[in-house]
Amino acid sequence: MKTDFRYMRRKIFGTMMLGLSILAALAAVSMLFWILGYTFIKGISAVNLDFFTKLPTPVGVPGGGLANSIVGSIIVVGMAALMAIPVGIATAIYLSEYGRGFFASTVRFVSDVLAGVPAIVAGIVAYALVVTRMHRFSAFSGSVSLALLMLPIIIRSSEEIFRTVPDTLREASFALGVPKWKTILSIVLKTASGGLVTGTILAIARVGGEAAPLLFTSFSNSFWNFNPGQPMATLPVDLFNYSISPYQDWQQKAWAAALVLVGMVLILNISARLYLARKGFKRNG
């Protein structure tokens, strides 16, 4: 009877601990819904057509929107993607198709370490590299900082995708007398294309929400600007400036910006994941 009692105690303790682990998962998921839900409720009441089509108004003047910073974000992130994607994918090709030995593992290691560099540091580097030389804040310098953040993410996800392309396909192509470089361009790249797009979209979603590196690179701008050599408004930076302002009206705008930003980031993120999941399913089935 004594052993039974001890076993009961062990069992109850175990069940309690496992219950706590369920609670932990529940807590994390509810945090997600709390944060998203609150952003949605606060944001939806401040989002209207003007928000997407008008320029910001000065403090105290009601109305206006953040059209310029939405477009600005797209420009800054787009230029960053144009810089990071070619370098990232070409590097990933080298690492997965040719990369053996010391040089390749060094590149891999350095790019993994680069992936852990805080966003704000990327901003400082772009500041030192571009802003101090051009003597002014610019959209271009913002793009440089985001490209620095994107590059290691793209290298890593692309290399991994290339490695999922089965070697039997490369062999089939070699055996047909197709040179390696053509095999890479027309078989490996094509087979991997879905995964590459997904990885790139995830990288864009990841840096698209960053404000830290843009604060002192692309800076901000209350007007329309399409010149990459000039300061440019972006959604994250405006969100930050509005949220820490004391004005009720601006805080409202911050929530609207938050909703739009979260919406864009999550739509990119979720659609990329769903696409990959569907493709993976098809490949297996």
Binding site: V87, P118, V125, Y127, P179, F240, L266
Partner: protein, 313 residues
């Protein structure tokens, strides 16, 4: 009959293509070198003026042009430490739930939702911390804590902003990192080890705590290190809730400052060249910390070779 087998070309397309991709790979190394060079050269003025004293001095006064990094370094590590303290048990709980308890359909959907938490921009956490968490802390959580003010951790007034708020936010932000890597490692514990435990008469929890978790030790350590890396460098959320006061305090209720929030707040307002240099040197310190931490995590993961590719930051 057949065409000749050989063709002689010094610059074959094969070599050109390989060379080009190789040059791009080399550029990654050059870019990294450039990053290091720029950080060092731009922080030279403060380095010349204060030397290593910069690291240990408590004073940060742009008016007197005196700069010391200690309060920021302290704030960075203290907030991250608080975050780890909260995030580690919760993340392990999540990992245990996902790898040991959840049925398949829950496993993928809960896993997906928690990874989604990692996709939310830092700013949104900050906004939530500023407008939702801060009033809750100020009204309900911090007043009872301040009754324990005989402990150095609970001295001060309930402000809602400060180390506690920042630590909590960071915890939520690094939970996805730690839990998903830990889950991946726990998956790799072979089923026969679990069965071995069960056959010895262990309860399910005992199998988890005595077989699964110890077996995943080094992977969990790697996850913690990566989570720490993320917390140390996190900027926007912390900047919005830390209170931005450069002081050296143990109290959770006190406002503080971190390296990244100092850079975010002061960079555009700095008129003095020396202040810019001081902020860049703060960035350099953050860079060095994050390189050490990530290199350590990477080496840790290279050592456990069974663990290849599953982990993502």
């Amino acid at each position: 009959m057949a065409e000749r087998l050989s063709r002689k070309k010094i610059l074959s397309p094969e070599k050109i293509f390989m060379g080009m991709t190789g040059v791009f790979s080399l550029s990654v190394l050059l870019i990294s070198a450039l990053v290091v060079y720029e950080l060092f050269s731009a922080s030279e003025p403060t380095f010349q003026k204060f030397g290593l004293k910069f690291l240990v001095s408590k004073e940060w006064d742009p008016v007197q042009k005196v700069y010391g990094a200690l309060p920021f370094i302290w704030g960075t590590f203290y907030t991250s430490f608080i975050a780890l303290l909260i995030a580690l048990p919760v993340s392990l709980g999540i990992a245990i739930f996902l790898s040991e308890l959840a049925p398949a359909w829950l496993r993928s959907s809960v896993g997906f939702l928690i990874e989604l938490l990692a996709a939310i921009p830092s700013l949104i956490f900050g906004l939530w911390g500023l407008f939702v968490l801060s009033p809750i802390l100020q009204q309900y959580i911090e007043p009872p804590l301040s009754n324990l003010s005989w402990l150095p951790f609970f001295k001060g007034y309930p402000l809602g902003l400060g180390f506690l708020n920042a630590g909590l936010l960071l915890a939520v932000m690094i939970i996805p990192t730690i839990s998903s890597i830990s889950r991946d490692v726990m998956y790799t514990v072979p089923a026969n080890q679990r069965e071995g435990g069960l056959a010895l008469g262990m309860t399910r929890w005992e199998v988890v705590s005595k077989v699964v978790v110890p077996n995943s030790r080094s992977g969990i350590l790697g996850a913690v290190v990566l989570g720490l890396g993320r917390a140390l460098g996190e900027t926007m959320a912390v900047t919005m809730v830390i209170g931005n006061t450069p002081q050296f305090s143990l109290s959770l209720l006190d406002p503080g400052y971190t390296i990244s929030s100092a850079i975010a707040n002061q960079f555009t307002e700095a008129f003095d060249k020396l202040q810019i240099s001081a902020l860049i040197e703060l960035g350099l310190i953050l860079f060095v910390i994050s390189v050490i931490i990530n290199a350590f995590a990477k080496l840790l993961m290279l050592r456990m070779n069974r663990f290849s590719g599953g982990a993502r930051i």
